[in-house]
Symmetry: C2
Subunit: 243 residues, 2 copies
């Protein structure tokens, strides 16, 4: 793991850019003022592989670090700003066109997001290994964000102890199946009027999760309208399970 | 208002029994150690008019008072341990029989709960007037518990500024209509596998509330299985809107 930049933010949070082979990542930590005990790690991913540098994810990561967690995000293979093959680019362009035309049905999502999750998961696991080897960062590990990737990682990774998922109207068939195998505590966040995430599909997914402790939080409004207090409710969830 | 008993609990909370005409009530307050500023009041009612002395309600009220609120509950007309007419007793016996036989359909609930809400609401408003006249208790006022009564009160009472509702699978027709007229912030708590509260009816009710700020919390399990952390999430909701 190579650190490529480091900056201290106003609230003491340290934001470091790193590379791990071809994987670019960002690590946010509460800064050196905290106690010597390792801080728990939260992996934070944007739905459908949006860039880790996207402002809403960065704001969420910084606040979460300020609350006492190490937070990491990467642009995994096929995601964010990573170079893509011509075939990947075509799939992405087809997907965007369908979304903009309001024609993104289940088949369109399956064709684009299914392979994206399969490609991305190994990079996240590689990153997890590297992060847990750093001094000051410990387990248990939490996950936050992209529902489909989180299901994949939580099924594959016994080190992930709690997960917060967002949206989940469209989740690939493979992860809808894997959802039944989950057993960790879950906080599932849903926007009631999310134009891109059919409500009934999200409720069906919540119903399918195998976990004995699972909580649904739904709020009025569209995809980007999640109220600020849900971030703090999320901290309380992670505090219960990671600290 | 006549105080009939007073006891100080281990955590400093003071529990007072009172009568207001024919209305028996209980008032829990954080005790005299708090600052001189009036504490906000939360009216707490059990679903379908169960007694205010029921242990789950008492536990919830004591914890809420310990968190800094004045909490009041009453046995309103037709509810709890209040004397009932022969007709009331028959309606209650019919309702219980239907519930125990698993035959409590919408008609059974409508016939029992509809009149109960109409009878109970005036007693709660009388109580609210009396409580707000007490020194040390102020507004804005919150509501917690019985969904149907809470809808009725919130529509009628501009002093109620935020409400937490529980369950809501069966709500009388009149309150399903009134739900659209609500505009205060709502926290709607749902048990995903509540045998007595059909999930889809509760979700439809959440959808119907007119409030712009409304949040649904759903947890796995049956009617009495609400996890303890929801009580604290409720405090955070009231803290945002009443303090």
């Amino acid at each position: 793991m190579h650190l490529t930049s480091e900056q201290r933010l106003d609230d003491g949070v340290v934001e470091r850019e790193f590379t791990l082979g071809e994987i670019p990542g960002t690590l946010w930590t509460p800064g050196p003022d905290t106690s010597a005990a390792p801080v728990p790690l939260i992996l934070m991913a944007h739905n459908n592989g949006l860039p880790k540098a996207q402002s809403r994810l960065v704001a969420r990561a910084r606040h979460t670090a300020a609350a006492g967690y190490a937070v990491a995000s990467i642009d995994a293979a096929g995601c964010g700003d990573r170079p893509r093959s011509d075939a990947d680019e075509r799939a992405r362009a087809d997907f965007r066109r369908a979304v903009q035309a309001g024609e993104a049905d289940e088949g369109v999502f399956e064709a684009f997001v299914g392979p994206l999750v399969e490609q991305a998961a190994p990079d996240w696991r590689t990153t997890l290994d590297a992060l847990l080897a750093l001094p000051g960062i410990g387990g248990p590990v939490g996950y936050s964000g992209w529902t489909a990737l989180g299901i994949r990682l939580a099924v594959a990774e016994p080190r992930i102890a709690a997960a917060g998922f967002f949206a989940g109207g469209y989740v690939p068939r493979a992860q809808r199946e894997e959802a039944r195998r989950l057993s960790i505590p879950l906080l599932f966040l849903l926007q009631w009027d999310d134009e891109g995430n059919p409500r009934q599909r999200a409720l069906d997914l919540f119903d399918a999760f195998g976990s004995r402790e699972k909580t649904l939080h739904a709020n009025l409004g569209g995809h980007t309208g999640t109220p600020w207090f849900e971030l703090e409710d999320g901290f309380r969830f992670y505090d219960r399970h990671l600290t």
